[in-house]
Symmetry: C2
Subunit: 288 residues, 2 copies
């Protein structure tokens, strides 16, 4: 599946008409923001759900997966900026603003957001209504007041509503992943909300554990950010062992929430495997 | 027309589902970025073209005009950031990052870009195909390699291609305005390219004149930026009188490029009035 994702993103990244002349450093920064990728976990979930729902128009699924990953990459680029996390490294290499300068990083993020929506629009010849729903779903979970922009925005508030913060900061794009997978294959997205929300919650706790337990080299990004920036973190809330038990509970809930669909069994297996991997990572980080 | 534009933007700004809890400072910064507006010139052009083409589905025209203005406002917020123009004032009040902080300004811009596309998607129930074409047009002239992101990106290049730079930095959203006006009313956008490109060119020259001749108080934003940032400017290229003659020629060309359509005569009158106003502003700025 990873090669399908990489091919789809490559095809969709600069899908608008080719022009003779363009600013080369921005082109390079956009590519640098997306390749090589991380685990591509959001498009993987999206495609897995689409496949479980029969994936009858693969071109739409490909466009949806690419658009979702572009939004995710854009959010990483902007979140790493000096005015947010001021991260030095990401995916094991210098962050975009470190490599290309702050203004190019802002523009690379903006371009990725815009290209995400154009790559969806280009797929509308296959099904106008699915693409309209995909656009609504992606924008809902990316922007304000429900999406990752709102999630980041909570960090500037004196009184954070923790549930809304986690839901929009981390949960949003996982809910987008499961729901967009269903929409891509012509299924109702509503029953897929729960699975996305639970996977998102699991990732939030796993990420909190990594932030506390890992070092920069092993995680591929700057760690210890939560403590440094005085941000809420599951370990602060539940303690180390409590957070690990909490993670296991959420993952079990995720599996049991999978809606009835043609590929239900296979999808459950996949989530189980991912869950096991997630628990393993956290065990090994404790040794590190 | 201005009240139709203001109502449309107000309705479309946060059109996704209402949630109980959201980060208040980000909501406030988004509103601050859009209201009170400037001249709303891009949505005015869009609506004027749509009306000249019969404006048969006003809800689509309203969504298109709002989306275009949101993208424009987002670009102002991001362009004012310290890593770009580092502007202190915009539309006669502190820039968004001065009023709300840099990270909220980045998020407000991101949210506006995303909401622009969601407001288009919400209009697709009126016509899926028009909205798909509007989305493609808006993304083309906003992103990379053709849009305003590319335009800003040129400023980081050692060798600027001046024609591409002006076309994408200023021309792009004016071309989007005329073409989106035509698409909103179900017309072919191609014949409307020329009018948008020429209006954009005229605004670029007018803006260059303002930057050189005005002071902060009269223009409502920080002036003298081109000289400060060593950017290309029509006065540097043609001299003061040459730039003014150039502006007049472009405006005459704009009027003669208006495609045949039901409201052709009225539209020509409107462009003539705008042109006269533009020349006047530049005359008065010379006295200032």
């Amino acid at each position: 599946m990873i090669s399908r994702i990489e091919e789809a993103i490559q095809k969709n990244l600069c899908s608008s008409s080719i022009v003779d002349k363009f600013p080369e450093s921005l082109r390079s920064a956009i590519e640098y923001s997306v390749f090589p990728g991380g685990a591509r976990i959001r498009p993987t979930i999206l495609m897995s759900v689409a496949k479980a729902c029969d994936d009858d128009i693969p071109d739409i699924t490909d466009a949806a997966a690419s658009a979702l990953e572009m939004i995710h990459c854009a959010s990483l680029v902007h979140d790493d900026l000096p005015c947010f996390d001021n991260g030095d490294t990401r995916r094991g290499k210098p962050t975009v603003h470190k490599a290309y300068g702050e203004n190019t990083a802002v523009l690379a993020g903006d371009s990725l957001i815009i290209n995400a929506f154009s790559c969806l629009a280009l797929a509308s010849r296959h099904s106008h209504s699915r693409v309209a729903n995909l656009t609504l779903c992606l924008s809902k979970f990316s922007g304000f007041p429900n999406g990752i922009c709102a999630g980041q925005g909570w960090e500037n508030e004196l009184n954070i509503d923790l549930k809304s913060y986690h839901m929009s900061k981390t949960g949003a794009l996982f809910i987008a992943a499961t729901q967009m997978g269903a929409i891509s294959a012509g299924h109702d997205p509503d029953p897929w909300f729960e699975l996305g929300a639970r996977i998102g919650e699991a990732f939030q706790v796993a990420d909190d554990l990594i932030d506390v337990l890992s070092d920069d080299k092993n995680s591929g990004k700057s760690v210890g950010q939560d403590e440094k920036n005085n941000r809420p973190n599951a370990i602060r809330e539940f303690g180390l062992e409590g957070a690990k038990r909490h993670l296991q509970d959420i993952l079990a809930g995720a599996i049991s929430s999978i809606p009835s669909c043609p590929g239900e069994g296979e999808l459950a297996q996949l989530v189980k495997m991912q869950a096991a991997k997630m628990m393993e990572i956290n065990e090994s980080k404790i040794i590190v």
